[in-house]
C-alpha cells in the first residue's frame, strides 16, 4: 500500500468512525501500513487530574487497555511531557530504564519503541506508542512518524474526544 492509499484509507475510516475505538483503530492501521508496529497503544493524559489511561491497545489480550493510573514521572516524563519530544529506544535495556513493564514488552517480542506526544492547542493530550523488534525504529522511521502520523494522530484524538463526549 502506498502512503497516499494509506492516508486515503485513514480519512475514509475517520469519516465513518462513530467511536473512539474506531478512530484509534484507523490510526493503528495507518501506523502499521506506513512505519510498522507490532504493538500500538494510545495513552491519554489528564494533567489536571494527574492521571493517565491506556485508552487503546492493538493487543487487548496480552497488553490490555487500562483504567486511570498516576502519571509516571521521571526521565521519560521529562522528555515526552515537558519537552514534548519523541522518546525513541532501540534496545530492551533502554526500555527497561524507563518502563516498569519491560519484561512483558520483551515477552511480546518488542525491544524498540517510539512514544510520540500528541499536542493540541499547547496541551499534551495523549501519547501514541508504537513498539517493534530490536533496532526497528531507525532515524528514517522516526522521520516517517513525524511527517506522516503527527497530524492524523491529533485528528484521531479529536474524533475520540468528540465521540466520547456524545456517548
Amino acid at each position: 500500500m502506498t502512503t497516499t492509499e494509506a492516508l486515503a484509507t485513514f480519512d475514509a475510516a475517520i469519516a465513518v468512525a462513530q467511536t473512539a475505538e474506531a478512530a484509534y483503530k484507523a490510526l493503528q492501521d495507518l501506523a502499521q501500513a506506513s512505519v510498522g508496529a507490532k504493538l500500538f497503544t494510545i495513552m491519554t493524559v489528564d494533567m489536571a487530574a494527574d492521571v493517565a489511561r491506556r485508552a487503546y491497545t492493538s493487543d487487548p489480550v496480552n497488553y490490555p487497555a487500562s483504567g486511570t493510573k498516576p502519571i509516571n514521572y521521571g526521565p521519560w516524563f521529562d522528555v515526552v511531557h515537558k519537552q514534548r519530544e519523541y522518546f525513541v529506544a532501540n534496545t530492551i535495556e533502554d526500555i527497561a530504564q524507563v518502563f516498569f513493564d519491560h519484561e512483558l514488552i520483551n515477552e511480546l517480542g518488542c525491544q524498540s519503541v517510539i512514544n510520540m506526544p500528541i499536542v493540541i492547542g499547547d496541551e499534551l493530550v495523549a501519547t501514541m506508542n508504537i513498539l517493534d523488534v530490536a533496532g526497528y525504529y531507525t532515524p528514517e522511521r522516526v522521520q516517517i512518524v513525524r511527517e506522516l502520523l503527527s497530524v492524523p494522530a491529533k485528528l484521531a484524538v479529536l474524533v475520540a474526544q468528540t465521540q466520547e463526549a456524545r456517548a
Binding site: D11, A15, V119, D122, Q163
Partner: protein, 168 residues
Amino acid sequence: MSSTSRDTAFRNFEEALARNADPLATGAALHDLAKTLIGARLFTLTAIEMPLMQVRRVYSSHPVVYPVLGTKPIVLDDWFEAMRTERRITAINSAAGMEGQFPDLALIRSLGCNSSISVPIMVGNELVGTINALDEEGRYGPEAIARAADLIIPATAVFLILRRHFGV
C-alpha cells in the same frame, strides 16, 4: 509546487495545531496550507448543523464581506447530496461555469475569483463542514482536485477544534 514547499507547509500546519492555543488560529493555519496545495484567494470554512438545517461560517479569509458566524439555510440540492453521501469534491474552473451558481457572484468577481472548489468533511458518517476555496479562473483543474484531498485530514481536525470552540 515543489515537494519541499509541500512538506514545509504540512510541518507549519502541524506546529500551528500543536502550539497555538487560539482555536481561531487553526483556521488560518489551514488556509495557509490550502494556499500552498491548491491556491485559495478567498477561503472559508462552513460548519454544517443538520438539526438546525443551517450552515455557519467558522473561518473566513475576508471577514468584512464574509463574516464569521454568519448563517445560511442548507439547500438540499444535488450538490449537497453528492457531498453528504459520496464525500465528492466539486470544482468549477471557469468564469462561464460560475454563472448562475452563486447569488454573490458579483462580490466574488470583485475579489478576483472565477473558479471555486468545495471539499466535504465527514466524521462518524455525518457531514460536519465544507472547505470553500475560490481563486482566479483555471486554478482548480483535475490536478488541484486531486491535491485538495490532502486537505481532508488537516481540515477534519480543524473543524472539530472550531466546532467545539463555537459550540456548534
